[in-house]
Amino acid sequence: MVLILLLLVPSLVNFLAPLYNFDAPTALGLPFFYWFQIVMLPVSAIFYLAFSYLQKGSTEGPS
């Protein structure tokens, strides 16, 4: 069950728009709002990969 946090934590950060709805600081002239969400894509992928490797071998079907 702890593993589910690897899915929930990045998802919550992505979902909670008030966390990143700012214009500063900018990167390459991009407002924070935009570049933060772009950076969250590979960050989310890393969390998901960790989840997948820790789930390896699990073949859980519907309960």
Partner: protein, 505 residues
């Protein structure tokens, strides 16, 4: 501006390669194509990378190239919701898709409706689920056609050949080719072309971004310095709308029948998890394409080209216009084809998924004598018919509102969440409660969509509620869940069945 003479020949040559691959798909890793699981799931033998390409091909569609940049161009930051949606949707998929894969592999399910049928032991519920899937895909396919139309209109306009009928004829020809190759080679054809398409698409994404960065001197600052406030960050009033668009879209993607097809074509649950984990990376290209909706304002040549289109439909031409004005002619030809088949291939995959549902969960359910050869034949013919139904949809919907087509599909498909996603975790629900919840969710969703748009053309999917303007799909899902839970608690009747899997935990 005049069209570079290389653009159209390059576009046509690459289209010929694409058509060849579509037909060649039927010979690749040959199986017995008269069997539905062979035709529709490529014999369940695709590995991590091919599933990555296949599912990713569903993601890089006209939605990415046309609808989202169009929304950002017209309304600003609100339509950047597509980026966090992509980040979250694969987390959602990791929680549900491997469970579905395990049971589908063992029990031979080909659709989500197959699972619902077995879990809740209700023909009515599985039929309603299948019908919802078929109908929800129609506007999504229509969106792909809008994308293809935007490419053709861009080429014709820059070659000074624009006329309403030329556009329609070109669209119909492309569609006949698509229907023919889907018909003969099924998901294998779509998979091979998805690889080709994705190579072109990455090329398109990188070429356009590089060319634009060169134009703006490597700094986005100038474009944002002149942009209006609602292009820089989200206005406070749109925050609830943004969050619910993200949530609703993220929960909806893997309920779509074509996404379920992609899931079930994986070789193993582990490979499915790995490829799903990598899919948020596709969002990086999507993010930059969405930004084109802002950047285009600082590219004068693209803006003057956009001026040739009616103000109400300029948005869908943002990316094609940038391609044709900024890139060398031959590269523009390749990139325009990338966008064009970026609409065609997902349309094929979606039509295959619709056909599966019709044949297996509706025709066969009510006429059990149908043989598997007959089932595959019905699927193939239905995939052709559905594509043409969606083609008709396009002529009835104004292109400016392209993204609303996908969001409307989302309102419908999200209502399957209790039966399909929650059904994978619990058998507590009763089928009658789920049917009632689903139907009320859909009716309420459609009514809210009509009311929010004053019963006119669709321009918004947000509904003014006491909690702010929210994505209609999420409100309708709330109603659906409430009804499903309350009625399951109070109605008499049986709950879902155990589904024994030998590998099960």
């Amino acid at each position: 501006m005049a069209l570079d003479p290389a653009t159209i020949p390059v576009f046509l040559v690459f289209f010929a390669v694409f058509v060849f691959l579509g037909f060649y798909g039927s010979r690749w890793r040959k199986g017995d194509l008269s069997q539905l699981s062979e035709w529709a799931l490529a014999g369940r033998r695709l590995g991590t990378w091919l599933v990555f390409f296949l599912v990713g091909a569903d993601l890089y569609t006209a939605y990415t190239f046309v609808a989202i940049p169009s929304g950002v161009f017209a309304k600003g930051s609100l339509y950047f919701y597509a980026v966090p949606y992509v980040a979250i949707t694969f987390g959602v998929a990791l929680a549900f898709a491997p469970r579905l894969w395990v049971v589908a592999k063992e029990k031979g399910y080909v659709t989500g409706s197959d699972f619902v049928r077995a879990r809740f032991d209700s023909k009515t519920l599985s039929t309603v689920v299948a019908l919802t899937g078929i109908v929800a895909l129609l506007p999504y396919i229509a969106l792909q056609i809008v994308g293809m139309q935007a490419v053709l209109a861009t080429i014709l306009t820059s070659a000074n050949l624009a006329s309403q009928s030329t556009e329609e004829i070109a669209l119909v020809i492309a569609f006949v080719i698509l229907a023919a190759f889907t018909f003969t080679s099924g998901l294998r054809g779509a998979t091979l072309t998805a690889v080709f398409k994705d190579i072109l698409i990455w090329l398109t994404v990188i070429a356009v971004i590089a060319a634009i960065l060169y134009q703006i001197g490597g700094n986005f600052g100038a474009a944002f310095a002149t942009a209006k406030a609602n292009y820089v960050t989200l206005p406070g009033s749109l925050v609830p709308g943004y969050m619910t668009l993200v949530l609703g879209s993220a929960l909806a993607l893997y309920l779509y029948p074509h996404a379920v097809n992609g899931v079930l074509s994986a070789e193993s649950a582990h490979k499915l998890r790995l490829s799903t984990s990598l899919l948020p990376l596709y969002g990086v290209g999507l993010a930059f394409l969405a930004l084109m909706g802002v950047l285009v304002y600082s590219v004068p040549s693209a803006m003057s080209f956009l001026g040739k289109f009616p103000a109400a439909s300029q948005g869908i031409y943002v990316v094609p216009s940038l391609i044709i004005t900024v890139l060398p002619g031959w590269l523009a030809g390749i990139c325009l084809l990338g966008i064009f088949i970026g609409g065609l291939v997902p349309a094929a995959i979606m039509a295959i998924a619709q056909a599966n549902l019709l044949a297996r969960n509706i025709v066969k359910e009510y006429r059990p004598s149908t043989t598997s050869v007959g089932e595959a034949r019905i699927s193939k013919w239905a995939s052709v018919v559905f594509k043409f139904v969606a083609l008709g949809f396009v002529f009835a919907v104004p292109s400016t509102y392209a993204v609303q087509l996908q969001l409307l599909g989302g309102v419908l498909i999200l209502q399957l969440l209790p039966s399909l996603f929650l059904g994978l975790y619990t058998k507590w629900f009763k089928s009658r409660a789920l049917i009632f919840g689903l139907v009320v969710g859909i009716l309420a969703g459609v009514y809210m969509a009509l009311q929010a748009n004053n019963f006119g053309p669709l321009t918004t999917s947000l509904y003014a509620s006491p909690f702010g303007s929210l994505y209609i799909a999420v409100i309708a899902l709330g109603l659906n869940l409430l009804i499903s839970v309350v009625l399951s608690a109070i109605l008499p009747g049986k709950r879902g069945l155990d589904i024994q899997t030998t590998a099960g935990a």
